[in-house]
Each structure stands twice: as structure tokens, then as C-alpha cells.
Subunit: 211 residues, 4 copies
């Protein structure tokens, strides 16, 4: 039942307790068949048009097997996003300079959103956030949290090195590191190539220094 435990409790009606006596256990083969089918279905039809029926059919699995693992279509999607995103926890190596660290951080973000499926689900979830505050909180904790922590490290190193003032506005700094790139990647949609990242790094460093 680790599966359901990985979904924040807000998102599940009630995570099963269980395993009392002569119990059976969710078969991993079934779980992974569903996961694969879901990813394929998402890639083909998109989130809004993905149906549980279709996923189960594609996985050669009964619908009940899906609902035994996740309490709803949304929870299933969310769990998927989280897993995919968790697989790539941002880890920004100390490059020795603020500019290097900033560029490293940007590269990590780009790498993570490179998969268009991630982009889709992320946007869908962001949209859903406006309806469900609980979901927003869950996402902020599991998805945004680790990323902001990594960004905070970049800022801290800058302060330690003396490249940034000690009283820098952390909140604004984090936004400056994350938002411009994320906004372009998810909302604006223009190309994000090496040159762009290089110039973006420059202006972010300038911005941070002035903050």
C-alpha cells in the first residue's frame, strides 16, 4: 500500500490502513501496466480527454484495479506527476560563482520540463489549483518546495561568497530565479536555447544583485 501512501492524504479520500491477516497485495505488474498505459494515453490524447476506461482497456486491466490504487482520475494523474518530478530532484552543484549557479539552476528547470508530458500535467495541475486550494497546497509542498529549496541554496552561496548582499529579499530572489524561465516555458512558449539561457542568466544576476 505504499502506492497510496505516496499521494498526499488530502488527495485521497482515505488511504487504506490494512494488511491485517491473510491478506492479498496489489500486484506490481498490474500497477506498472496501468502506469505505462496512462503515460501512453496522455501522450496520445491529452489529460482532459484521457478516460479511466481507456487506460484500463489499454493496460488490459479491470477498472477496479485502477480505483483500488487511486481514489480518482485526478489523484492518479497527480501521483504520476509527483513521481515523474520527484525522479529528478534539482541538485545544483556549487560552480564557484553566482552566475554559474544561476545557470546551473536554470538548466535543471529546463531539463525537467523538457518532457512535454510533464509540461501538460503541470499546467493541468496548475489550472486545477485555482479550484482546489488543498491541491495547491499539496503541489506547493511536494513540487515547488524542493525547487525553491534548491534556489535558496543558490542565493545562500551567493551571500556567502559576498556576491549578494546579506539582507537580500529571499522571496523576491526565488521568484526571479524561477518565474521568468517557468513563465516562458509554460505560458509564453517561445524557444529556450542556450543563447537565451545565457542572456537570461545575466539579467537574473543583475536583478539579484540589485535586490
Amino acid at each position: 500500500m505504499e502506492r497510496n501512501r505516496s499521494v498526499p492524504s488530502i488527495l485521497c479520500g482515505m488511504p487504506r490502513k490494512r494488511e491485517p491477516a491473510g491478506a492479498a497485495v496489489l500486484q506490481e505488474s498490474v500497477t506498472s501496466a496501468i502506469t505505462t498505459a496512462l503515460f501512453d494515453e496522455l501522450a496520445e490524447t491529452g489529460y482532459a480527454r484521457t478516460s479511466v476506461d481507456a487506460v484500463a482497456r489499454r493496460a488490459g486491466v479491470g477498472k477496479a484495479a485502477v480505483y483500488r490504487r487511486w481514489p480518482s482520475k485526478q489523484a492518479m494523474l497527480l501521483d504520476l506527476l509527483e513521481t515523474a518530478v520527484r525522479r529528478n530532484v534539482p541538485e545544483v552543484p556549487d560552480s564557484g560563482s553566482l552566475a554559474g549557479d544561476v545557470r546551473g539552476f536554470l538548466d535543471v528547470i529546463v531539463a525537467q520540463v523538457a518532457d512535454p508530458r510533464i509540461k501538460r500535467i503541470a499546467l493541468d495541475m496548475a489550472a486545477e489549483t485555482t479550484r482546489s486550494p488543498d491541491l495547491g497546497a499539496a503541489l506547493r509542498e511536494t513540487v515547488a518546495g524542493p525547487r525553491r529549496a534548491a534556489a535558496a541554496t543558490v542565493l545562500s552561496r551567493g551571500v556567502e561568497r559576498g556576491e549578494l548582499p546579506a539582507d537580500i529579499d529571499r522571496e523576491l530572489g526565488l521568484d526571479l530565479l524561477i518565474s521568468p524561465l517557468l513563465g516562458r516555458l509554460l505560458l509564453i512558449g517561445g524557444p529556450v536555447d542556450d543563447a537565451y539561457l545565457t542572456r537570461l542568466t545575466t539579467v537574473i544576476v543583475a536583478g539579484l544583485t540589485s535586490a
Copy 2:
């Protein structure tokens, strides 16, 4: 028949040509009843859970009246967004300084996304963009276009005043003006108050100057 003409052709099957002879005409009273009902329904139930049946019922209107105007639920929503967004074309007065113009521009964005319904629909549409490139193009033209134009004006004035280098990277400049705030408003979700905007203005100006 301005109604359907206002929807980009990609979004409707085919905008009606019409008015051959003694023709009937979509009644404005019905259109506005539907629009009102749709906005109310969106506010109450959210995009995903808004049904055409419910909108028609609330408007005291037959379902056919809806489908006579828009070819699908999606097209209806989209047209709505466009209309709402078009009602508030950004107009940044010349404040005499780059910092003033930047702040003015940020204020306009905040004002437009203030209505949480706009925020919802905007995110839903952004999400849909990842599935339908045509839709993305339409949105970029009608929604993003005017905003980027306003931002471009801010940059131009800065160059004229000598506050910005003449060879400034326009693309990056526009992103810097738009993305950080939009990212926070739509994706990150923290508070955006006067103090935040003031500090954001500072770092943007710093960033632009260095670009």
C-alpha cells in the same frame, strides 16, 4: 452576427457568412443571458465541471441556442476569455521614467488577472495549448500579442530616454517584464502586494539595464 465573427476561425467550425435575404438573427438578449450564466457557472463550479446543460438551464435557454453560437463547449469558453481579456487592453501611460513605466505595466497585468475567473480560464487555456497548436497560435495572437506590444512600448520609451541601450535584447526584455509577475500570479501563487511590486520593479529595471 458579430458574435461568431469575433471568434478566431480556428476555434469555430466555420464562421457564418449570412444575411442573404430576410434572415433570422441571433438575439443579443439570449447571447448575453448565456454569457452571464456561463460566468456565474464558472465562478461556482469551475471550468472542468461547467456543463453546457447547466449553463443553458441557468440562462433559461435551450441548449440549441448555445450550439448555434459556438460549435463546442471549448469554443464557448475560449470566446469568453478573449472577450474578457479584450475588454481590458493594456494601456501604459508614459510616466516619464523607465521605472514608472515598468511599474505601470505590472499594475495593468495585476489588474487583469485580479478576477480569479480570468486566472482560471487563462490557465485552462494555457494547458489546452499543449494539445492544440492552433489554439496556442490563436491565443498568442489575440491575448499575448497586445500585451507584448504594450511591453514593447515601455522598452522603446526607455531607449528613447536613453535609460536603456539601443541594442537591448527586445525578446528577453519582454520576457523579463511579463514572465516574473505572470509566473507568480498564475503558477506560484504567493501574495502580490504593493511592496512586492515595488521591489519587483527595481530588479526588472536592473535586469533590463544590464541586458
Copy 3:
């Protein structure tokens, strides 16, 4: 407005009185276009699937033009049946013998139901009769009445000639003349050729004589 006068008042919500003063008049060309289109539509799609919209479209006529003439789809159909049926009022010439008259009467019935469209509408109307007693009465008066009158003439001549007893059961006699053939034509559906009619004439005469 003779048109609507021909529909029994039971079938129309309220037959127009009209022609009071500076009145306009329904154009005969439109009426006949509708009639033709209706017949064609019936022949192609059948009663149940015939829609007023389709008839009007085929006639190149506005729907209102139809509803100006008949209060409902059903009334229109009924009026049509009545007209078609009235065009061919049964007229059984005195052949000089009971057997000859009976055969003549049967021939008239066969001729009238020969058109499969008449058969369809007749059955549809019979079916509708079970729901609407008023319609039943109207049909009995305008459709069945004249036919039973013609059959009654056959019986009367037989009595006059002395071929039938004077106290013959008229009701049963009429049924015997009409039902067997009508039942076969409309309900059973087997072939009705000359030989069949000859033999049927024989048994009907035998039956009548014994009544």
C-alpha cells in the same frame, strides 16, 4: 382558408375563421408545393421519420407556411390522407347481381390501397386512433363512412333483388365485405390477385347469404 376547413375541427386546435377585412390569402402555389414535398418525403422516409423541417426545406418554403395551414404534423398528414382517399370515392356500379357487386366493391378497395403511401398513412392513422379517440371518430366519419355507405348499397341491392334476406344483419354484412380484404391488405400482407379476389367473392357471398 378552405384548406383548414377541410380538417375536422377536432383535429385542429382552433380552425381559423378569418377573411374579415383587408386580409391576405394563403397562396395555392405554396400549398401545393408543400403537398408534393410531403408526399415525396413520405415515400422516401416514411411517416415516423418525416419531419416538418424536411418537408418545408424540400418545398422551398418556410416552416411557418406549413403551420399556417395545419396546426400540427399529424393534422397535416391526416388532411393529406383524407384528400387522397376522397379523390377516389368508392362508386360501385350496379352489375345486376350480388356476386358482381361484391367483386366490384372489392376491386374499389384494392384500387385505393394500391398506392403503398396510402397504405402507410392508413396504418399510421389506425395506430394513432388507439391514442386519440377524437381522431378515431374523425377517421370513421370521413374515411370509413363513405366506404361503409358504398358497401351498404351493395347489400341493399342484394335485398331488393331477393338475393339476400330482408332482415340481414347489416353491421355484420358490412364487416364481411370490408374486413377480410382490408385485413389481408394492411395486416397480413399476402398477395391479392385476381384469383384471390374471385374466390374471396364466392365465400363472402356465401357468408352474406347465411347471415
Copy 4:
């Protein structure tokens, strides 16, 4: 799954084969709830105005449950008619005389058409027959067939007893037994009481004898 098997294949898209493995099965309780609701609805509103929505609502059942059993409203109605009609297969006991057998046969017909719902559906189906030859064939086989067989028995017994000539025209004899009464019951609509049946028996016997 006998339900769908009982519907002639012409009427259903394709009767389900089924029961491959641990399969689900249409629940009899639901089927009978639908059947009851349908009969009630027919009695109240009549065939043409009976809607699947209303039947499902009255049965406390989802619309899908109906469409899982029958492919269309029409097929459902037809299956119903067949079932109702099959429940009462005509069985004419040997009364020892032709007149007695004829009267017995007439009584059976009257009994079967006594339920006005049967009458309605029968006429509706007869009407539909003119549009769909396949339906006509199906009805002739399942509905008319057994009745004509029973009538044939009456004729055979008459021949055996020497009351009828051995070379009697069977086809015409069957028509004479069935059509007059059916015509009156379904098409003409006058009263059919004991006296009427008595006299009708007399003329039919006379007709048969002369055939």
C-alpha cells in the same frame, strides 16, 4: 442472457455471445424494472410519445441499462410485443364441431387483443412493417405464424370430420378465419361482443363450406 437471445437477430444489432470468463451479467431485476416501467409508460402516453428517458427514470435506472439490453427504442418495443404475444400462444381445443372450433379460435384472438396495449403496439408494428420488410418478415414468423398454424388446425379438423371439402383453399380459409375479426378489432373498431362473435361464426362457417 436469454433476454437478448429472444430478440430476433434482425431487430438487434448483434445478439451478445458472451460468458467468456469471469463476466458480468445483465441483472434480471433491472430488466424487469425496465419492462414494467415501459408497459406503464405505454399505457399512459402511448407508443409514439414514450421516451427512453422517461422509461429509465420511471424504472429508477440509468439510460445505459436500457441501451445495454436493446439497441434502440424500437427494438425494445418490439421485443416487448413479441414477449407479450408469445405468452399467449393460441391453443384451440377440439370442440367436436367446425362451428365450435371456429368460435374457439375467435375467442382466442379476442382474448389476445383485449389488452389495449397489445392493440396499440400491434398496430404500430404493422405500420412500421410498411417501411421495414425485415421487420415484417420477423413479425410474420413470430407473431402471425403460430396463429395461422392454430387456424390451420381448425381447418384440418373440419376436413377430417367431413365438414369441409378436402380440397379447400387453405390460404383463403385462413384469411377468412383471421381477417374479419382482426380487421374489426384493429381497424374498424366497433364493439365485439358475444352476439357478434356468434353471428360471425355462422358466416365464417358458411364461407368456409363454400370455399
